[in-house]
């Protein structure tokens, strides 16, 4: 039996430590992992818990991230609670197996500490890895600070393992900005946390010898499509379970999470939409600019990136009848397109009552800092669009990049 870990009511944890504590408290059966910056401490801490008797499950050191996720798939198909952690290049190497995990409906929990993708090689935080996995069929939750990294990792087990869902779940946090920044965190005691997560209920497990099953079958054009349709529906329908789990978590802890977080949107004239730690920067900047300049700025933050909260994004956009302009912040090199968040938010906003002007910023690549002054400049620019009644700049721009001004496409509505 695993030893209880003594925890204070308030601890001083960085995002990595918070995530590793949540994995420990969930009493994962198998962690198969390969360490990579900046998520290394999650794996390292977990190994220490295991070595010191705080974990009953197995810790498997593998030869690569492809092996890590493959080990997780095997262990999950066998019938265990399974989790791992990765970042960036490791995430990229896992990608093939991410699709296997979701298609096989295995509720693996993956804590992702977001980092840029090479080339050029870079260990700092941006959302390239998150975007790489966005079509992989996983539920994607996004933590903006250490407390949330802990809370959402616990919730991830409940969501993914729910019998109506049975899908793998990623919990993202920003590399270094969140993963290496120690903050006050209120953890649950071991017993309370485990009770919230609950015992693992195996489904179609290979270790059930009374009912032999085949996992990972091949299907061609006569079956594949139906399976993918069923999988997509499960992912879309998981919205309800995510809402329920977050509600249960609020009842237990008083900490409230929603699939889309909104801040000061009730009377907002312009809004900024972002992911990760930039959400807190944006809230801080919005409060300041409201006080200093009377500019009514709100913040919208998708807590759940997949399934994409098409419903709640529209609710957020229609929350204020005065909303005129929205800027979508994409922290990933767009590779010859508009940013993914911009595209998806624009599609949702097209069928709202407000149909605000929407522009796109690429920002913060490779860990480039996104500061309060730049956030406020962007907010003022949205106000200029709102006042003019049309987009006054290029639709896609780059924030915080050196060199001549860089932007693409202009509006045809004036």
């Amino acid at each position: 039996m695993a030893k209880e870990f003594e925890l204070n009511e308030m601890e001083f944890w960085d995002g990595n430590y918070a995530a590793s504590q949540a994995l420990r408290q969930a009493q994962v059966d198998v962690v198969a992992a390969y360490p990579i910056t900046p998520s290394t401490p999650i794996v390292e801490n977990y190994g220490a818990y295991q070595a010191n008797g705080y974990v009953d499950g197995e810790f498997v050191m593998v030869e690569s991230e492809h092996g890590a996720m493959s080990g997780c798939v095997g262990a999950a198909a066998s019938g265990g609670r399974v989790a791992t952690a990765t970042s960036s290049q490791g995430f990229a190497l896992m990608t093939e197996v991410l699709y296997q995990a979701s298609g096989m409906r295995l509720p693996i929990v993956l804590t992702v500490v977001n980092r840029a993708l090479a080339s050029p090689l870079n260990v700092r935080g941006d959302h390239s890895d998150m975007y790489l996995g966005r079509d992989s069929g996983w539920i994607n939750l996004d933590a903006f600070n250490s407390q949330e990294a802990y809370d959402l990792t616990l919730c991830a087990f409940r969501v993914g393992e729910h019998l109506d869902v049975r899908l793998p779940v990623m919990v993202h946090q920003d590399g270094f900005t969140t993963s290496h920044k120690a903050q006050n965190v209120n953890p649950l005691q071991d017993e309370v946390a485990y009770k919230f997560v609950g015992d693992y209920v195996p489904v179609d497990d290979m270790l059930d010898f009374s009912r032999p099953v085949t996992h990972g079958a091949q299907t061609e054009e006569d079956w594949h499509y139906e399976h993918k349709a069923k999988q997509h529906k499960a992912l879309m329908d998981s919205r309800k379970v995510i809402d329920e789990v977050l509600e249960d978590f609020k009842e237990l802890t008083g900490r409230e999470y929603k699939r889309v977080e909104t801040y000061m949107m009730e009377d907002a004239e312009v809004a900024i939409i972002a992911l990760g730690s930039s959400v807190e920067t944006s809230i801080f900047a919005a409060k300041q600019i409201r006080e200093e300049e009377g500019l009514k700025v709100g913040v919208i933050a998708p807590r759940c990136f997949r399934p994409f909260p098409f419903d709640l994004i529209r609710d957020a956009i229609d929350m204020s009848a005065n909303l005129k302009a929205v800027v979508c912040m994409d922290r990933s090199a767009p590779g010859g397109a508009m940013g993914a968040l911009f595209n998806e938010v624009s599609a949702a906003a097209y069928t709202t009552k407000n149909r605000p002007l929407i522009t796109n910023y690429i920002y913060g690549l490779g860990g480039r800092d996104f500061g309060v002054e730049e956030a406020k400049r962007i907010m003022r620019e949205q106000k200029a669009h709102a006042d003019a009644g049309h987009i006054t700049t290029e639709i896609q721009q780059f924030s915080g990049v050196r060199g001549p001004r860089l932007g693409f496409f202009t509006t045809r509505r004036d």
Partner: protein
């Protein structure tokens, strides 16, 4: 042709792709397929023909449609050494009580391993074009090869 060799009437009865097509709401979650219908008590001790394989078990399906050459078995020469049974990668050599019965043409892919490992002279298994009639193949079976004189 070989069906019934082992007394079964279920092996290879379903052509691959001929199974009943179901909608997205009916396919099993995660493409997990049952190997057997009903209880599997004692199944490990039953011969394949006595097991309750499910519709999606490959035993029921014929999965040999892409074979282009096939092994033909000659009972008159075979010494029942079981070499082919041991080596066959698709468990397509049917043998009962250490006696070779023939080829499972519903699962054999025509790899020719059985012919390679057959120790008799002439061989008791030889590869032929898929369309060749087995009786014709047997009628033209080669004679025993004599050792070359020193």
């Amino acid at each position: 042709m070989s069906k019934g060799l082992d007394g079964t009437n279920k092996r290879g009865i379903l052509e691959l792709g001929a199974e009943e097509k179901k909608g997205w709401d009916e396919v099993p979650q995660g493409v997990v397929l049952n190997s057997f219908d009903g209880s599997i008590d004692n199944t490990a001790f039953l011969k394949p023909e006595d097991r309750e394989y499910s519709e999606f078990n490959s035993y029921i399906a014929s999965v040999a449609s892409w074979r282009v050459i096939k092994p033909v078995y000659n009972r008159d020469i075979c010494i029942d050494c079981q070499n082919c049974w041991v080596w066959c990668p698709d468990t397509s050599i049917i043998s009962r009580d250490k006696q070779m019965l023939g080829i499972d043409y519903d699962h054999c892919k025509g790899c020719g391993v059985c012919v390679e490992v057959c120790p008799t002279n002439p061989k008791s298994l030889l590869m032929f074009e898929e369309a060749t009639n087995n009786d014709d193949a047997l009628a033209g079976w080669p004679e025993k090869k004599k050792k070359a004189k020193k």
